[in-house]
Symmetry: C2
């Protein structure tokens, strides 16, 4: 599941996006410079530029008005208030999501160990035990797995983390489906979850963080995602 | 800027939210159990429960229909497709956002050092230098600061991180306004940014990560946000 290298045209498309979103060189509704100018400016052939524009048209970022030129569309994904829900409109791979989980979830476990109320801890353990049962009975655990991770995020008492979690579900959902296929991954999940629950119960923040890190690394290795 | 302790009613309000979002005990449109039942179930007084419900009504999560009871509203923030843009509708403090930055941005710098194309690196350095100029001239640097961090996120080649950055702007925006007030913080920013740029130029991922970590810790300390 190695990320494929981007083509030159994709890199140029990225660069055009950066000119819109970061450099504010072209605004929504603006007409891009003509092909000769733009290809010279970007230092690429006109063929590559055309391919880049085609990619951006497909992603609804540019539009070609016949006989008029190429314009920046009013795409919500481009404005300042970008919405993570539009993520699905863009190429996104499991690796991107797991990299994000690896950054985000260990620290969630750390804060949860320190900050969870007794009630919140109870909820985490409830879903953790429920998931163990389902794994042993070989039943679908997608929803319970989500509830487990969601209840940890809630216990961070960080509203931002709490709200980011649902966005990461996509990855967790995909993960559960894929990982049921391999007995080794299922065993790792059982062990990892038990450790996470034990550390959380002991209010051991560093332990909980490290166990969560291991849990996500296990999942990444199961998918064949290597670190870079 | 220490986070204030939550009141009992706020904790109960949180618990009701968890029953909706995590336990799926009450769905949108559902009527909550009556006051006696719910206060017994939640093990709180009816006064505290009423206060919790009032909080949730204010946040548009519950509604009281006169003579009928209390219902779960159809609030976008509660459904699975939660939207980080609705963050602003909830109590959110600078500490939550900086905790998130401290998790997220050092790793962004790490990946940027490893993955940035030459063009992307050029863009980062361009905004870094531009910001230095503005700081020295004591001019507003809010936008350029955002472009600097945004161009680092872009260079991670992780679409998820790239899209999370705009959400963090709120914090960065607030940060710049506040931190201009103290000469010490401005000096730290100058030094930190120079280090980040140097490490990135050398493609030194660990160096870039650590310098970014320091940069955000500096900002947090400037605001009086302590680690927990």
């Amino acid at each position: 599941m190695k990320t494929k290298e981007k083509s030159l045209a994709e890199n140029i498309a990225d660069d055009i996006i950066a000119r819109i979103t970061i450099d504010k060189k072209y605004a929504v509704g603006d007409k891009l410079p003509n092909e000769n100018e733009l290809s010279a400016d970007l230092k690429v052939s006109r063929t590559t530029l055309r391919e880049a524009i085609r990619i951006l048209v497909t992603h609804n970022i540019l539009e070609i008005r016949r006989g008029k030129g190429t314009y920046v569309k009013d795409n919500h994904a481009l404005d300042g208030g970008i919405d993570l829900n539009t993520l699905s409109a863009f190429p996104m791979d499991v690796k991107d999501l797991y990299e994000m989980r690896l950054i985000f979830e260990p620290q969630s476990a750390y804060f949860a160990a320190k900050r969870a109320t007794d009630k919140e801890l109870e909820r985490i353990l409830h879903y953790g035990r429920l998931e163990e049962d389902l794994i042993l009975k070989k039943q679908d655990r997608t929803e319970v797995e989500q509830a487990f991770h969601k209840s940890i995020a809630k216990a961070t008492h960080n509203e931002f983390m709490n709200r980011l979690m649902p966005i990461l579900y996509q990855a967790i959902g995909k993960g559960v489906i894929l990982s049921n296929a391999k007995e080794e991954i299922v065993q790792n999940t059982l062990n990892d979850h038990r450790m996470i629950m034990e550390f959380l119960s002991n209010r051991d923040a560093l332990g909980a963080k490290t166990a969560m890190e291991l849990h996500i690394i296990h999942a990444m290795r199961g998918f064949g995602i290597a670190e870079e």
